[in-house]
C-alpha cells in the first residue's frame, strides 16, 4: 500500500479516536497552579537517619530523614532546605564524593533503623550538581540501602551496601561495586536472601581494604527477629574480590546487628558493637580486625541494635568515640568508659563532627538535628526541619479550624490552620506524651481525645480547664486480655456527640465520653495465636508492644446511619454491623484479588450512600507492596477495585469528597493521588507536595481544605479543593472556564504575630483574599493576557496578575482597589501606599487573552462576625473617598507647582533676561510647596517635620485601613486638612495669577513655549 494512504488513514483514525475519547488530564496538567502548603510543625521535628558533612567545607551538611527526604544546609547547620522532594523520602544513607564534594552526592533510599513504622526506598540516586538534579542509578527493588562508599582516589569506584527488604526474602541484598561511576554494578558479597549489608566501610588509607557488616533480620506485622547464624563481620583486602569473616575474639553462636567504625586518624584501630546473647558490647581491634577485645557492655552501647547501630570515631582524636543509642554515649578514653551525651530528644541515630572545630558536632535524633559546640555536653535543636511524622490527623470545625494528630515518638498535638503572622512553633499545643497516634476533637465540646502507644493511656483532655482524665477501656472479669494495636483506633460519632469508640480485638463504645464502656462485638479479628508473639526481638528481646497483632485498626460509623458501623482489623477482616453491633458480618471473603489477611488500614463510610464504603488494604508488612483500594455499594456484598496503574506505592488512607462522589483522595507511601472520575484515572498531586508518605487525610467541611497527615513532612494542606468538584468533560473542552466560587468574605482582622526567630520554621497561612479560579485548556505563553476587576458599570477597579498555567489557575484579589496618586515630596509617605478596600457587592471579572474576552463575576461579602452596621460602612466609604480625593487633589496641586518651577528654572538658566520673573515665580511656588510636602530629610531618623501631605496621608491610610465609621476626631482632623488644602489651592491660584502669569507673559513675548500642564484627568491617568 502507498505509504501516504496509510498515513492518511491513520490520521483520520487518530482524530476520530480522539474525539470519541474523554479528555483525561493527568497530574500537573489538571492541577495547574493549585498548590499545597506545608505548615510543619518543626518544633518537634522528626527522625533523622543519616548525617553527612562535606570533607573540606564546614558549612555544608546533609541530613537524610526517615520520611522527609534529604535536607541540605549551606550555612553550617543554621538552616536546612529540602533537595530531594521528587523522590522516595525514606532515606538510608547520604554520601558526598570526597573527590568532588561540591557537586557529587549519592543518596541511598530506604530507612535502615528498622522500627515497625519505617517506610521503604526505591533505589540509589546520584547528583552531580550538589543536589539540584538527581538521577536514579538502579537498585529499584533494594528497599533499603545502608552504605555508599566512594574510593577517595577514584570517583568511578563505588561500593553500595544493600540491606534489603524488611518484611520478606530478597536476593537484592549484599555488597555491590561499580568501576564506572554507577552505570554497571557487580555483586561482590552475598550471603543469602535473609542477610543484608548494614554497614560497608573503606580504610581511608587503602581503598582495597573494605569491611562489611552482614545482618540477618526479619520483621512481620506481629514480630521482629534480629540475628541468626548468618550475621557476620567481613573484611576484604583485594577491593571486594574475596571476603573473610573477622571474628577472632567475638562471642560464638548466633549474632545480630553489628555497629562498625574505623578510626579515621589511625585506621588499624577499628570498633565493633556486637549484638549477642552472651558477651555483647563494644569490641576494639588495634590490628585492623585480626583480633578483638571486649571493652564495654554498657546499656547505652547495646540497647536496641536494630534502632541504634551507629558508632563514630572523632576525625582527629582516636580516643573520642560516640555511639548512637537511647541517649547517645560518648567516650574520651578510646572506648573504655562512656557517659551520655547532653540533654536532647531521645533516640540518637547518627553523629558527625565538625571538620574544623574539634568541639563541634551534629546529632540526628528521633526529634530532629541537634548541634553542640562543647563536645556534646549541651545540645541546641535545629528549628527549621519540618520532618515530623504523623500517624493520623483530624480537623475540627472552629474558625480557623485546628489540626490534631499524633507523631512518631513525639507525642500528640493540636495547632491552627492559620495564625497571625503565620503558623509558628508556639501555636502548637501538646495533648499527649510518648508516641502519639490518633487525636480527635469532640464533635461539639472543647474536649480532645488522645492516646499513647498500645492505648496504654487514652486521654480525655478538657481544653478550657486544662484537665486530663485517663479513660482507656480495661479488661473485665471473665474475659480475655485486651489486645490494642500500637496505633489503636478510636472514633467519634456524628450522631451522638458524647459517643466514643475504641477498638481492641473487640469494639468498645462509650456514651459518656469514655467514663463507662460497653463491648459491642465479639473478637472481630482472626485471633490467630501464631500472630500473638510476646517475645519479639530475636537476639535482643524487644518488647515495646509495637508488634501486638490481631487487633482492630480502623472504625467507621456511617454518617448516614448510626447503626451501621464498619471495623477493619490488622489481620484482614472487614466487619460490618447494621444493627449497632448486635450482629456482625465479615465481608472480606467477597473481595476479589486481595491476598488473605492483608491489613485493613482504613475504611471510609460514605456520606452519599448508607451501603457505600471504601476499604484500603496495606500488605507491606508481609512484603506485599501493591495498592489495594476497594469500593462497595451494598454493605460489602460485592467489592470493586478502584486501583489503576497511575497509583504509585501501597495505600493507607482514602478520603471521599463530601459533594462529588466521584472525587476521591488517596494517600500512598509516595504521596497523594486524586481521581475525579470515581477511580477510572488517578493523578499524582505534586504542586509543592513532596513524595512523602500520606498516612491520613481529612477534608474540612467549611473550607473544603484537604488536610494531609504525612509521615515525614508534617501537615500539608491543599486549600479549597472545590474547583476539582466542578471539573467535567464540558469544562475540560472549553478554552477558559471560570469555576463557581463561594462569596469571598472581607475578614475584619488585623492583629499581631511573629514571635519566631529568623531560623524557626513558620508555616504559611492560607490566603485571606478573594479568589478567581479558572481553567485554561492551554498555557498562555504568546500574546497579551490580562485579568481585570470591574465594577457594575465596567470601570476598572484593579488589574490583577493573571495565572497562565494549563489546568486550574487561582488568582488572589486582596479586595483592594487602585491606590491614590500621591504628591511628590522628598521622601515617601507610608499612608500613601494604602489602597482603599472595595466594598461588598458583585464585581465583574474580565480575562482578556489576545483578542478574546472571557467574563465572570466575584461577590464580596462583609464579615458575618462583624458588628458594623451598613450605615456605618457607608460613612466609612464616603470619608475614605473624600480623603482619597484630597490626596489626589494635593498631588495635582504639587504637580502643577513642580511643572512651573521646572519650567522657570529651565528658562532662567537659558535666558538671563528672564531671571527676575522666573526667580519670583520659583520663590513663591517653593515657599508654598514647602508647606505641602516635605522637601528635606529622609525616611528614618532624619525625617523632616511633616507637612500637609504627610499628615493627610497618615489620616487617609488609617481611615482606609479601618472598617468602622470614622471617629469624630478623624472627621475633625479631616476638616483641618481640607481647610489647609483649600487655602493652598487659593494660594496657588494667586501665584498663578501673578508671578506665574508674569513669567508666562514673558515667555509668550520671547516666543518660547509655555509651561505644559496636563489636565487633572490626564495627570491622574498618567
Amino acid at each position: 500500500m502507498n505509504k501516504r494512504i496509510i498515513f492518511g488513514a491513520l490520521s483520520v483514525l487518530f482524530t476520530i479516536g480522539m474525539q470519541a475519547q474523554d479528555i483525561v488530564l493527568k497530574g500537573k496538567e489538571l492541577f495547574g497552579n493549585l498548590e499545597a502548603r506545608e505548615i510543619g510543625p518543626a518544633l518537634m521535628s522528626g527522625r533523622i537517619i543519616d548525617l553527612e558533612n562535606h570533607p573540606t567545607n564546614s558549612k555544608i551538611i546533609y541530613a537524610g530523614t526517615a520520611g522527609g527526604g534529604v535536607w541540605k544546609s549551606s550555612n553550617g547547620g543554621a538552616s536546612f532546605a529540602p533537595v530531594f522532594d521528587k523522590h522516595a523520602q525514606s532515606i538510608g544513607v547520604v554520601t558526598v564524593d570526597p573527590n568532588d564534594p561540591d557537586n557529587t552526592v549519592w543518596v541511598g533510599t530506604g530507612e535502615i533503623w528498622t522500627r515497625n513504622s519505617v517506610s521503604i526506598g526505591d533505589g540509589l540516586y546520584k547528583s552531580t550538581d550538589g543536589g539540584s538534579n538527581w538521577k536514579k542509578m538502579g537498585f529499584e527493588n533494594s528497599e533499603r540501602i545502608s552504605s555508599i562508599v566512594v574510593n577517595p582516589k577514584n570517583s568511578n569506584e563505588v561500593y553500595v551496601g544493600v540491606m534489603g527488604a524488611l518484611w520478606g526474602d530478597s536476593e537484592d541484598r549484599g555488597v555491590y561495586k561499580t568501576t564506572d561511576g554507577g552505570t554497571t554494578w557487580e555483586k561482590v558479597l552475598y550471603v543469602n536472601e535473609k542477610t543484608g549489608a548494614n554497614e560497608v566501610m573503606m580504610d581511608p588509607t587503602d581503598p582495597n581494604t573494605l569491611y562489611a557488616a552482614m545482618w540477618e533480620f526479619r520483621r512481620t506485622a506481629w514480630g521482629f527477629n534480629s540475628g541468626g547464624p548468618n550475621s557476620a563481620l567481613y573484611k576484604s583486602t583485594d577491593a571486594g574480590k574475596t571476603w573473610n569473616k573477622i571474628h577472632n575474639g567475638f562471642p560464638k553462636g548466633d549474632l545480630g546487628r553489628f555497629a562498625f567504625a574505623i578510626s579515621p586518624s589511625s585506621p588499624k584501630t577499628v570498633f565493633a558493637v556486637v549484638e549477642s546473647k552472651e558477651d555483647k558490647g563494644l569490641y576494639r581491634s588495634d590490628d585492623a580486625g585480626a583480633s578483638w577485645k571486649l571493652l564495654n557492655g554498657d546499656f547505652g552501647l547495646v540497647v536496641r541494635p536494630f534502632y541504634f547501630s551507629r558508632i563514630v570515631v572523632h576525625p582527629t582524636n582516636p580516643d573520642i568515640i560516640v555511639k548512637g543509642g537511647l541517649f547517645g554515649s560518648i567516650s574520651r578514653d578510646g572506648g573504655k568508659t562512656f557517659k551520655s551525651l547532653g540533654n536532647m530528644h531521645a533516640d540518637i541515630h547518627d553523629i558527625v563532627f565538625d571538620i574544623n572545630n574539634a568541639d563541634a558536632m551534629f546529632v540526628g535524633t528521633d526529634g530532629g538535628v541537634y548541634r553542640s559546640w562543647d563536645g556534646g555536653s549541651t545540645m541546641d535543636m535545629v528549628d527549621n526541619l519540618p520532618v515530623s511524622q504523623f500517624y493520623h490527623i483530624s480537623v475540627d470545625n472552629d474558625e480557623p479550624y485546628n489540626i490534631y494528630g499524633g507523631l512518631q515518638d513525639n507525642g500528640s498535638w493540636w495547632g491552627p490552620s492559620s495564625s497571625p503572622g503565620g503558623i509558628e512553633a508556639r501555636d502548637w499545643n501538646r495533648v499527649g506524651y510518648g508516641d502519639g497516634f490518633r487525636v480527635l476533637r469532640h464533635p461539639s465540646k472543647r474536649i480532645i481525645y488522645s492516646e499513647m502507644q498500645g492505648a496504654q493511656n487514652v486521654w480525655r483532655y478538657d481544653m478550657d480547664k486544662n484537665y486530663t482524665k485517663n479513660i482507656q477501656p480495661l479488661p473485665i472479669k471473665g474475659e480475655a486480655d485486651l489486645r490494642f494495636n500500637w496505633n489503636a483506633p478510636m472514633a467519634t460519632s456524628s450522631h451522638q456527640p458524647d459517643r466514643f469508640y475504641m477498638g481492641s480485638q473487640f469494639l468498645h463504645v462509650s456514651e459518656d465520653m469514655g467514663d463507662n464502656w460497653k463491648k459491642i462485638s465479639p473478637d472481630l479479628t482472626t485471633n490467630d495465636p501464631a500472630k500473638q508473639d510476646k517475645e519479639s526481638g530475636g537476639i535482643s528481646v524487644d518488647k515495646s508492644g509495637a508488634e501486638t497483632h490481631t487487633t482492630i485498626f480502623t472504625i467507621a460509623e456511617s454518617p448516614l446511619d448510626e447503626k451501621v458501623i464498619w471495623v477493619g482489623t490488622d489481620d484482614g477482616n472487614v466487619q460490618v454491623t447494621k444493627d449497632g453491633g448486635t450482629t456482625w458480618t465479615n465481608t472480606v471473603a467477597n473481595i476479589q484479588g486481595l491476598p488473605k489477611n492483608t491489613w485493613v488500614y482504613h475504611i471510609e463510610a460514605s456520606t452519599h450512600n448508607k451501603g457505600t464504603a471504601y476499604a484500603v488494604f496495606d500488605g507491606h508488612a508481609s512484603g506485599d507492596m501493591n495498592t489495594y483500594v476497594y469500593k462497595t455499594s451494598n454493605f460489602g456484598k460485592t467489592w470493586k477495585s478502584i486501583v489503576t496503574d497511575d497509583i504509585i506505592g501501597f495505600a493507607r488512607n482514602i478520603q471521599e469528597d463530601y459533594v462529588n462522589e466521584d472525587l476521591l483522595y488517596l494517600g500512598t507511601e509516595f504521596g497523594l493521588f486524586i481521581t475525579i472520575d470515581g477511580g477510572k484515572n488517578w493523578s499524582r498531586f505534586t504542586n509543592k507536595m513532596p513524595a512523602t508518605a500520606v498516612h491520613f487525610i481529612d477534608l474540612q467541611k467549611k473550607t473544603n481544605d484537604l488536610v494531609l497527615g504525612t509521615h515525614g513532612r508534617g501537615v500539608i494542606i491543599i486549600d479549597d479543593i472545590s474547583p476539582l468538584r466542578q471539573i467535567n468533560q464540558e469544562v475540560l473542552a472549553k478554552d477558559v472556564h471560570f469555576f463557581d466560587t463561594k462569596p469571598a468574605i472581607i475578614k475584619e482582622e488585623g492583629g499581631f504575630g511573629g514571635g519566631s526567630t529568623e531560623l524557626q520554621f513558620v508555616g504559611d497561612n492560607p490566603s485571606a483574599s478573594g479568589k478567581i479560579i479558572y481553567y485554561l485548556k492551554k498555557r498562555h505563553t504568546f500574546g497579551k493576557m490580562t485579568l481585570v476587576i470591574q465594577d457594575k458599570d465596567g470601570n476598572e477597579v484593579v488589574s490583577l496578575v493573571a495565572g497562565k498555567a494549563k489546568g486550574i489557575n487561582i488568582v488572589d484579589w486582596n479586595f483592594r482597589k487602585k491606590g491614590p496618586k500621591v504628591a511628590a515630596g522628598k521622601t515617601f509617605t507610608f499612608g500613601g501606599f494604602t489602597a482603599p478596600r472595595a466594598s461588598a457587592g458583585e464585581y465583574k471579572v474580565v480575562l482578556k487573552k489576545g483578542k478574546k474576552e472571557f467574563t465572570s463575576s466575584i461577590t464580596l461579602i462583609n464579615d458575618p462576625k462583624s458588628s458594623i452596621t451598613n450605615e456605618e460602612r457607608i460613612a466609612h466609604q464616603k470619608t475614605t473617598k473624600q480623603l482619597f480625593d484630597d490626596m489626589e487633589d494635593l498631588a495635582f496641586l504639587v504637580y502643577k507647582i513642580d511643572q512651573n518651577v521646572k519650567k522657570a528654572e529651565e528658562v532662567s538658566e537659558k535666558d538671563p533676561a528672564s531671571k527676575k520673573a522666573a526667580d519670583a515665580a520659583i520663590s513663591e511656588l517653593n515657599k508654598l510647596k514647602e508647606t505641602l510636602v516635605v522637601t528635606t530629610g529622609d525616611n528614618y531618623v532624619a525625617e523632616a517635620e511633616p507637612q500637609l501631605r504627610e499628615k493627610l496621608s497618615k489620616l487617609y491610610g488609617e481611615v482606609a485601613d479601618q472598617f468602622e465609621k470614622p471617629s469624630f476626631s478623624q472627621i475633625e482632623n479631616m476638616g483641618v486638612y481640607k481647610t489647609r488644602l483649600n487655602e493652598a489651592k487659593t494660594a496657588y491660584e494667586k501665584i498663578n495669577g501673578k508671578q506665574v502669569a508674569k513669567l508666562n507673559k514673558y515667555l509668550e513675548k520671547a516666543g518660547a513655549t509655555k509651561t505644559e500642564i496636563l489636565s487633572k484627568e490626564e495627570f491622574l491617568s498618567k
Partner: protein
C-alpha cells in the same frame, strides 16, 4: 484493528523518542529561530523595557535599560518621584538607600557578580559557548501544566560571602514552541538559602522581529512590560554613580 493499534503505538513511540533525541543545542537553536532568528538577536545593542512592577499592594512604574557593553539602569517612579533605583556602569554598581534615598555603592561582591553578568546580554543562551557557559538537558518535565524540556544553565561562579559558588539556573522550554516558560533560581544567601525561586514567563510578543516576554513574575513580584524598545538612545551619564553634593540643603 489490533494491527492498526500497534502501528499507532509505534508511531507515537517514534514521535516521543524523536523528542527525546532533542539535544540542548537543538532546543536552544529552535528557541532563537522561533523568537526572531539568531542574527536579529546578535544585532541588539541595547534594550529598554518600560512597564509596571506589581508588589503586594503597590504598582510601581519602572524603566530598565540594558546595553550590550553591560551597562544597566533601573528607574522607578514612587509617589510621584522618578529616580534611578539602581544602576551599573560597567565598573560601579549602585542603588538607592531606602531610608535616605541617596545613592550608595553595592558591596564589592555584588559588583563583581554584576560584572560577570555583562555577557548575559541580550540572552544568556545566545552563543553561550563563547561566554564560557554550559548547558545540559536534564529531561522532560511538566511545569505550569505544560510539557517542557528542563535545561540547566551553568554560568561563571559567583562570589557569596567570600566563597565562590556555582551559578546554576534551570530553564523550562515549552516543547511545543521552544520558549522558556519557567525559570528556577536558587537563593544563595541568608536564612532562605537553598530555597528555589520560580519565575513564570509569558506574554511573548514581537518587537521589531524579536520576541520578548512581556510578563515575568514570581511569588514576590510581577513585572508587566508595556513597551520594549530595541537599541534605545541613552545618555550614558545615568549609569554612573552620582557623587554626593558637597553641601547638604538646609532644613
Amino acid at each position: 484493528m489490533n494491527a492498526l493499534k500497534s502501528i499507532l503505538v509505534a508511531l507515537v513511540l517514534a514521535l516521543s523518542s524523536s523528542f527525546y533525541a532533542q539535544t540542548a543545542d537543538e532546543i536552544i537553536n529552535n528557541y532563537f529561530e522561533n523568537t526572531g532568528g539568531k542574527d536579529n538577536w546578535e544585532k541588539l545593542e541595547g534594550i529598554e523595557m518600560i512597564g509596571v512592577m506589581k508588589m503586594q499592594n503597590m504598582e510601581i512604574p519602572f524603566e530598565q535599560v540594558m546595553t550590550k557593553d553591560g551597562k544597566q539602569v533601573v528607574t522607578i517612579e514612587l509617589q510621584g518621584n522618578r529616580m534611578v533605583w539602581s544602576a551599573f556602569d560597567g565598573e560601579t554598581s549602585w542603588q538607592r538607600n531606602q531610608m535616605t534615598m541617596e545613592a550608595e555603592k553595592s558591596d564589592n561582591e555584588a559588583t563583581e557578580n554584576m560584572k560577570k553578568q555583562v555577557k548575559d546580554f541580550p540572552d544568556p543562551f545566545l552563543n553561550y559557548k563563547d561566554k564560557g557557559y554550559a548547558v545540559e538537558l536534564i529531561g522532560k518535565e511538566t511545569v505550569d501544566g505544560t510539557e517542557t524540556f528542563k535545561i540547566k544553565l551553568t554560568k561563571d561562579p559567583v562570589l557569596v560571602n567570600g566563597e565562590s559558588v556555582p551559578s546554576i539556573t534551570h530553564y523550562y522550554f515549552d516543547t511545543e514552541n521552544f520558549v522558556p516558560i519557567i525559570v528556577e533560581t536558587e537563593i544563595n544567601e541568608g536564612e532562605m538559602k537553598g530555597k528555589i525561586v520560580k519565575s513564570s514567563i509569558s506574554d511573548y510578543q514581537e518587537v521589531n522581529g524579536v520576541y520578548f516576554p512581556f510578563t515575568v513574575g514570581s511569588e514576590f513580584q510581577t513585572m508587566n512590560f508595556k513597551e520594549i524598545k530595541l537599541n534605545p538612545e541613552v545618555d550614558t551619564a545615568v549609569f554612573a554613580f552620582p557623587e554626593k553634593k558637597e553641601v547638604k540643603e538646609k532644613e
